[in-house]
Symmetry: C2
Subunit: 452 residues, 2 copies
């Protein structure tokens, strides 16, 4: 019986082989993967956690699937991920304002391991039909490989699209769609990543660009800042204990929307590329532009941004006046580069979120701040700006954390609310030995009965 | 000797006649102006404080000059203001990132009253030469009317321009320029308006659009939110006791700058007019757009803005895709109206400032929040948004206040740091009777000596 044809409810062998998820870390002399993180020395933990800056861009844009079994879980290099057609299990989607995210579980094709892997896929919601088609494909695979009946399958859904696209999904897939509360799913998903997945959560600073944090159990209380189209701030005090303490409408949707009006960029990545080589001082009014110097008395450096886009109005008017005086028509629009505009707006939105996050964490006495959502997308300037804002305002007393699977917190949370039995997660095999023992006893009883 | 030719240092008659500054209030049966506000009944105070909504637009755009004498101070209807050429005293400027504000004192031309009035004038800083020319004109008047010597005059200056334009002003006027700390001047000016000027400070709500607050002495602690090109948050605990607790670069400069790029508007007023008839739901993603309904569990109404400009990216891409498929060229830019964009951005910036103001007031345990700076400009939507944000986030526990002279806090503060002797302000005549007595005694002594 290969795992690929194994029915989802069947009992897998409990003697799974742990695989090494950390080839990069090994080159730094990390301990053998069999050593649980909690038993490592601080130095070794640190070595294991260090990552070169080159990896940052890819860690979020291609965060990889999560391989999971009874001995632990780890992130699999994206290039080695199981193809989507290689077997599938439950599909779970978080459908936010702009992106629909699908998380699904699949068995390993050519392995006798129990467990398998969590796969992550996203779709823009204006292509929701592609997303539904993908889920139909997962459903068909599931029916073929595992022999599930349509009535046994369901889609866990959360976010606004769980309501908006509810009828569409039911009609297309013919399976139950269970809708779960978005905020609750976010924190269930985040808790999973924080407590169980190595090389998932990281801190960032200019001096020490990407430092992975070892999974830990003692995580409460914390602030979750979920940045999608808009931003929610959640105070989390226990496994399912949370409060939405605030929100701001200045989020990813604002950045993408304004930049799509003001620059020629047509994709998120084009916009981030533009921001990468722009100079915000061309459009922002700095303290030095106002004072000609620092404003030392209140601790403002001359390079501090006093007003985002604060130079634009005057410059544009001057250009227009000049054009009126000149016989040659002049397109004053062209005096601002898309790159400078993109950099400025990225700073403005990120700084603002960072500042509100700090203020909320201060009010609610929280030291750890996690940034989730699909805003960051592995963009180093964004991570750096958010991280710096927290450090600056809190004078180093609060810590910003980032996640490779930042965009999948809600969808993983929805998945975990109805995880497949014995899918390999820590604790998911509890009771399995008793079941096996009971079956053995039953078989022996039947055999004994047939010989009498 | 007319006041117009009176030397600034001369002793004015102490028997000034109080004038009625409140013609509108009288139509509501307000008490006689001779009654000090503190002695009015609550009902009468309320009647006196009420104002029709029609007045709101003009109260800040044309806030009027402040007439001041030993019995009190009041705001003079702009139409009856003394012309700038009608006599002048000390000129005091606050030169911020975008506007230079001049406050100067003038005697009444045809009056024997002591005191006089404070006049308010602003210039955009890219026309700083006009501003300097205006100050030169004030200086010349002062020399002619009061016989002051150039060495006796000075300009009090604060804000960034006090540094940036320091040499220019000294060179043009040939007088001393004394630079004062900007934040300190802001609170000195605000304290003056709060404690001494009736019909200056007001609250706002949709149900009760403009409610003036009677001047009072017990004002500390409070939060000052000064919104110019950028925004500063000051915690004020006593007359010159303050701390800049935060700031955001998303201020007036951001609104004017982004709107000048995205709309055809070329002046602040055009932009506010556009915002006045725009529909932000055309560009903003509302909670209802995501959920199709309220998100009741966390108290978000379907009309709540989830993401400012959150609809733009998708709509723009759809328009571009359609244009690519269509043989007829289509300007997708035109699908967003300047009015909708202006309304959305005005809401976004105002809401954001309101939210940060609330958070700061929460952290520092402040119940009264004053909004100053030159951002509001009498625009009702802005006032309403800021006021609503404070009420919403604080659940009605904190109060937003607005000022007719919102843009002149710093310049008035600079003026007050070196106010002309005996200019009529409460307390400014202290010691005058003793001086007059001493002069009488001296004359009598001289007369007695001459007859012996």
């Amino acid at each position: 019986m290969t795992p690929a044809s194994e029915h989802e409810d069947a009992v897998p062998p409990a003697t799974a082989v742990a695989q090494d998820p950390l080839p990069q870390a090994q080159t730094h002399g990390a301990p053998t993967p069999a050593t649980p993180p909690a038993q490592q020395s601080p130095l070794k933990r640190r070595l294991r956690a260090m990552t070169s800056t080159e990896e940052i861009d890819s860690t979020i844009n291609r965060p990889g699937s999560v391989k999971i079994n009874v001995q632990g879980a780890f992130i699999v290099d994206p290039d080695t991920a199981t193809p989507a057609s290689g077997g599938s299990g439950a599909a779970n989607g978080r459908i936010g304002g702009s992106l629909a995210k699908v998380v699904y579980f699949s068995r390993e094709v050519d392995s006798t391991d129990p467990g398998g892997r969590l796969n992550f896929q996203n779709f823009e919601t204006d292509r929701i039909d592609d997303c539904v088609e993908f889920m139909r494909h997962l459903r068909d695979n599931q029916l073929t490989l595992n022999g599930s009946q349509p009535g046994e399958l369901c889609v866990m859904a959360t976010g606004g699209g769980a309501y908006k696209f509810y009828d569409k999904i039911i009609e297309a897939l013919g399976v139950d769609v269970l809708r779960e509360d978005e905020m609750e799913c976010l924190i269930i998903g985040l808790d999973f990543f924080i407590t169980e997945i190595p090389r998932e959560v990281f801190t960032y600073s200019e001096a020490d660009p990407m430092q992975f944090v070892v999974p830990r159990d003692n995580i409460y209380p914390y602030l979750l800042v979920n940045i999608g189209s808009g931003v929610s701030f959640l105070k989390v005090t226990g496994p399912r204990s949370y409060q939405r303490v605030g929100g701001t409408s200045l989020g990813g949707g604002t950045l993408w929307g304004l930049l799509s009006i003001m620059t020629g960029a047509r994709t998120f990545d084009e916009m981030l590329d533009l921001a990468g080589h722009g100079d915000n001082a061309k459009v922002d009014m700095l303290v030095g532009d106002i004072y000609g110097t620092d404003y030392g008395k209140i601790g403002l450096k001359s390079t501090t941004i006093a007003s985002s886009f604060g130079k634009v109005f005057r410059m544009k008017r001057e250009a227009e006046s000049a054009a009126e005086d000149s016989p040659v028509p002049n397109d004053s629009e062209s005096s601002f580069s898309g790159a400078d505009i993109s950099r400025s707006l990225l700073y403005a939105i990120s700084n603002n979120i960072g500042q509100i996050a700090y203020l909320q964490s201060q009010i609610h006495n929280l030291s750890n701040i996690y940034f989730g959502g699909s805003f960051i997308r592995g963009h180093r300037q964004t991570i750096n700006t958010l991280s710096y804002a927290i450090k600056f305002w809190s004078q180093g007393e609060k810590q910003a954390y980032f996640l490779r699977h930042e965009g999948y917190l809600g969808s993983v949370g929805a998945f975990l609310k109805r995880q497949p039995r014995n899918w390999g997660r820590r604790g998911s095999l509890e009771g399995m030995e008793e079941m096996a023992e009971a079956r053995r006893n039953q078989r022996e009883a039947e055999a004994a009965a047939s010989t009498t």
